[in-house]
């Protein structure tokens, strides 16, 4: 059972104290930062280029910069602060900006990414050397999850719970079973080519059972059967019964009218299509459907994680 038990008055009063001073309180609140913060050693050096042009550039991009942070952090004020921190980094380095290497937005965005990573890693004072982008390459964004042993226990509990919930939502989403099976095997680190080469000839119903079994061998949870039950239930239905919308029914019009679980995975690939491309497409379709379902039923539920220690762990996992 979960719930707030109560709160305890511990110091004899409960009236709110004055709010702490807001950063940059002297600046007019225009809804997004229009001016950079200038302080201490970062006071701008003489402008190497036309000052008015630079000011124009900043004013042109700062709304976008605020949008960039607003999409990625859990609090609007934090987004404003991070945007201002970015301008604070960009301003003294304006001399290094070369329009022939990258656009001013890309120059700024690189610093935004550094500021964001610094925020997530909690090293707000660590010096970070900026490396000029190589061509159009973005900063590395490969997911490298933090080793579980490095995470606090409470974060592990919440994060594993979130992943289990996501598994339940995924396996019960309204996509045909072949897509769910492919999605499940990709969670087990099967690559599209491996799925095509090694699983195409196997019966979907058997693959679903193998998926659950392989998952159970890894993840010790008594509730796994509950997560996979909706997938197994679909195996008894025909494709016309599990493909809920006309578009999906048309996409699977070539599939024989039999129980879905009795067909091999290959029966779901359209004739003359590249199976590997479809494996990737199915995975992506499930991903989008799951996200749409979460937005429909629990909007903001994932954002809430951002403001918790779990959010820190999730974000730090992308360093």
């Amino acid at each position: 059972m979960r719930g707030t038990i109560s709160y305890v008055e511990t110091m004899g009063w409960v009236d709110a104290r004055p709010a702490p001073p807001r950063p940059f309180a002297t600046l007019p609140d225009l809804g997004y930062p229009r001016f950079i913060r200038i302080e201490g050693p970062l006071r701008p050096t003489p402008m190497p280029t036309d000052a008015i042009n630079y000011q124009d550039l900043v004013e042109h991009h700062d709304q976008r910069l605020y949008g960039y942070f607003r999409a990625r952090v859990g609090a609007d004020q934090l987004a404003r602060d991070l945007a201002q921190d970015t301008w604070t980094e960009v301003w003294p380095r304006i001399e290094t900006y070369d329009p022939e290497i990258a656009s001013f937005w890309r120059f700024t965005k690189n610093w935004a990414e550094i500021v964001l990573k610094r925020h997530w890693s909690g090293k707000s004072n660590s010096p970070i050397e900026w490396q000029p982008p190589e061509g159009d390459d973005e900063l590395p964004s490969a997911i490298e999850n933090q080793p579980a042993d490095d995470l606090p226990l409470d974060v592990c509990v919440e994060l594993s719970r979130a992943l289990f919930d996501l598994l339940v939502i995924s396996m019960s989403c309204e996509r045909p079973p072949n897509e769910l099976v492919v999605f499940g095997f990709s969670k087990l680190k099967w690559k599209p080519l491996e799925i095509v080469d090694e699983l195409s000839d196997q019966i979907i119903g058997q693959l679903a059972r193998r998926l659950e079994s392989d998952y159970a061998a890894l993840v010790m949870s008594p509730d796994l059967a509950k997560a996979f039950a909706p997938l197994h239930a679909k195996m008894e239905l025909q494709i016309t019964e599990v493909a809920r919308d006309r578009r999906t029914r048309n996409a699977y019009s070539h599939v024989p009218e039999k129980k879905t679980g009795a067909l091999p995975l290959s029966a779901y690939f359209p004739p003359d299509a590249d199976p590997q491309a479809f494996v990737t497409r199915w995975w992506d379709t499930v991903r989008r459907t799951v996200f749409r379902n979460i937005q429909r039923t629990k909007p903001g539920s994932l954002s809430a994680l951002l403001s918790s220690s779990v959010g820190d762990a999730v974000e730090e996992g992308v360093r």
């Binding site: 059972m1 979960r2 719930g3 707030t4 038990i5 709160y7 305890v8 008055e9 511990t10 110091m11 409960v14 709110a16 809804g31 997004y32 949008g67 960039y68 607003r70 999409a71 990625r72 609007d76 937005w105 964004s141 997911i143 999850n145 080793p147 579980a148 606090p152 226990l153 409470d154 974060v155 592990c156 509990v157 994060l159 979130a162 992943l163 995924s170 969670k187 087990l188 680190k189 998952y215 890894l218 993840v219 010790m220 949870s221 008594p222 991903r287 989008r288 799951v290 996200f291 749409r292 979460i294 937005q295 539920s301 994932l302 954002s303 951002l306 959010g311 999730v314 996992g317 992308v318």
Partner: protein, 243 residues
């Protein structure tokens, strides 16, 4: 697009976070998000979602394994006094680290007001245990001298608790576990408290329940716990046999 126009779809915002939109479209989306709270919220959801959805089952498994009392006890073995180690080793060996009862407790302290959220963690509880914690009305648990304290308690069954966990909030928290019902000849259990404070400090304490000769109460108290997220696990009562 301005905020009064229709919103971007969740698919577009997912693609935006995935970095697969063209630069012009990305510009449009970011300027819209700067003005639209709804799309900002969906984009933030997409930020978390796009990372969670790509976490492999292997990582899920590592989290589940780590998020167990077994993991805590293993870590505790290296830190506790030598005298406690056989008890902890027995807890690990006989019960695979499962607990008689386990609670997740989150404490907070803002503007002079302390709050506590508690949740029973059934996944950590041994087979056959009936200790599922429920919130009950505040009562004193440590004895006559403490009856004036502001306390929150939980009990296994309201009114007929077998164990109680009380939290006294403040700038730091005192947490007390009291065993009300245990077999006469049972060894009083260890209690493990672990977690992380809001400022990121790891905390791990293990102590045994002891009986106060004056009051007869069988309690253990963990003092000065800073606000944060914690797990309390109680060792299986020793007359019970592993399933």
């Amino acid at each position: 697009m301005n905020p009064r126009d229709s919103h971007f779809s969740s698919d577009v915002l997912l693609d935006y976070i995935g970095g697969t939109l063209g630069d012009d479209f990305e510009d449009q989306v970011e300027r819209h998000i700067a003005q639209c709270a709804q799309c900002a919220s969906v984009a933030r959801d997409a930020t978390v979602f796009s990372k969670l959805i790509e976490m492999p089952a292997e990582y899920h498994a590592a989290l589940v394994s780590r998020a167990s009392i077994e993991g805590v006890l293993g870590k505790a073995l290296a830190q506790v006094p030598v005298g406690l180690r056989p008890r902890i080793e027995a807890w690990l060996e006989m019960w695979s680290g499962k607990a008689e009862g386990a609670l997740q407790i989150t404490t907070n302290f803002v503007d002079g007001v302390a709050s506590v959220v508690a949740e029973s963690i059934d996944a950590f509880v041994r087979d056959g245990s009936e200790w599922s914690f429920q919130p009950v009305a505040a009562t004193a648990v440590r004895g006559p001298g403490d009856e004036g304290s502001a306390l929150l308690t939980t009990a296994s069954v309201p009114g007929v608790g077998r164990a109680r966990v009380a939290v006294q909030g403040g700038e730091s928290t005192d947490l007390t576990v009291r065993i009300d019902q245990a077999p006469e000849d049972a060894t009083l259990p260890l209690v493990a408290l672990t977690g992380r404070s809001q400022d990121g400090k790891e905390l791990l304490r293990i102590a045994s329940i002891v009986e106060d000769p004056d009051t007869g109460y069988r309690t253990v108290r963990f003092a000065d716990i800073p606000p944060g997220n914690y797990i309390v696990a109680i060792e299986p009562i020793t007359d019970a046999k592993p399933a």
